[in-house]
Symmetry: C2
Subunit: 324 residues, 2 copies
Amino acid sequence: MKTYDEYLLMVNSAIQAIDYPQQPAGLYEPIAYTMALGGKRLRPVLTLMACEAMGGNPDHALNAALGIELFHNFTLLHDDVMDRADVRRGQPTVHRRWNDNVAILSGDAMLTLATQHIELVDDRHLLAAMRLFNRTAMQIYEGQQWDMDFEHRHDVTEQEYIEMIRLKTSVLLGCACRMGAILADAPQDRQQAIYDMGVAMGLAFQLQDDMLDVWGDPETFGKEVGGDIMNNKKTFLLINAQQRAQGDDALELRHWLNDPYALRDQKYPAVRAIYERLGLRQLSEQAIDHYNAQAIEALRRVGLADDAYSAFAALINRLTTRSK
Amino acid sequence: MKTYDEYLLMVNSAIQAIDYPQQPAGLYEPIAYTMALGGKRLRPVLTLMACEAMGGNPDHALNAALGIELFHNFTLLHDDVMDRADVRRGQPTVHRRWNDNVAILSGDAMLTLATQHIELVDDRHLLAAMRLFNRTAMQIYEGQQWDMDFEHRHDVTEQEYIEMIRLKTSVLLGCACRMGAILADAPQDRQQAIYDMGVAMGLAFQLQDDMLDVWGDPETFGKEVGGDIMNNKKTFLLINAQQRAQGDDALELRHWLNDPYALRDQKYPAVRAIYERLGLRQLSEQAIDHYNAQAIEALRRVGLADDAYSAFAALINRLTTRSK
């Protein structure tokens, strides 16, 4: 097994080597721009790791890994239009740097480009790879739709929230892992186990993300903290706060949620303090531990050699103790 | 060979039978709405016709035909967002009936749903079908990008315009024909011939569309005429008018192009009269005849039995003498 950074290097070299057509520039430049913004490249690394861990050649999984990363970046590109987000990884989003139409159309092209990369897998894996990829894509759109629906609801339960992030975020990590397993000719039960590991890892990862937005260090987090609180974003924390707050806490929380002109310097620390009084930091950490344990249980079921097992276990640990 | 209406019935029955998930409604209702708006269903009919004409079973081409129709409707859905179009086939567009975010996300889902339908072809045709479909999709995005680029240019040539509509409109007709040929196990040269027929047919079809917008009967055309003229849309007619107009005609044309407050009752007949004085109706008809002849030449190369040949020849003729 290689280290994370070695797989990352493989992924980044392959991304840099993608040969986009020159024309029309308005279509391809935003795609190249988006792919060059960087990021953890977690999903393609998972595909390469899973492939090698199960006895396959990670070089043969590189196109599928790129397809998954292209898909992930396509979802970010269109989500940024829908969320009117101005900044992504410290740079202007595509719809801000160009415009909405460019973002819509180049996003569409990225989705097809992603599928074209999946299409490059070995013939005998094509059907399984395409099915997994497209089924996962549909689940992700469903998750995004639930996320948008939740904005207008006040009765979202923790269970509904977990199902939403399972669809919106986690299944793509499961898909990335299973893709590697498919390309390594792993049997169905081992494919399923590594998929389950990816999904549980994704849930822990997203809950960690919700926490970082509240308690993260802006220096290392790489983006401003408090954004979820300022936007009344229905996270694991807000949903549980709304269900648990009593008396003054409930009144104060309602006040902040209903004040569109609240200043960040006031609202963010006040809501964070409510979360802390309600014990939500511990509750989040317990939920993260729960999904981490689930991920480890699934990882055991995969039945890997020691070095591969250790590599995944270390990654699970690293993702949920990360500060960025 | 069946009649157009018999193939159309097959397509419409299959579209009605598509079983969309119930939830989340915000994702799937706009897709069902779009697909229920109707239309000529030209592309899926071409796939079924081409398959049967080349000795295949059109039932086996039905999923791929639906995939192409889903794709076509996805492009219309996203184009309507980009063009801020309010009406499609006499009904509110998705972004008007719901909103932009719904239109973006449900369009994305339609694209993946389209790919999932292509995925259902026989295993042995999967790679060829996916390659054709995705390559065509990329060309269509390129065509849409050129179309948007042309809005800001004043030096678009007839040749550039033809290349733009080849990409934006015609290659999907070629793809629809070739998909049927692939599924009928036709050899490459016959696949290429029927593809060429579809592309030439598509060029004639789009030029006819440009003409109908100017000289069509609003009663039978199904949508208001004059829209291209009112929007200064760079069509075959406007591009040639800008190159050919001299003296008073040139001055008058420039006046109408630069008057954003011009009334439809004045601008539309005035520009139409300029087109007529410049002989552009005849020029368009000549161009249509040219691509019709190209389509017939390609159809001959396909080498079909008489009844299949006649069915396609009649369709080519019907598409470019249509009034809607």
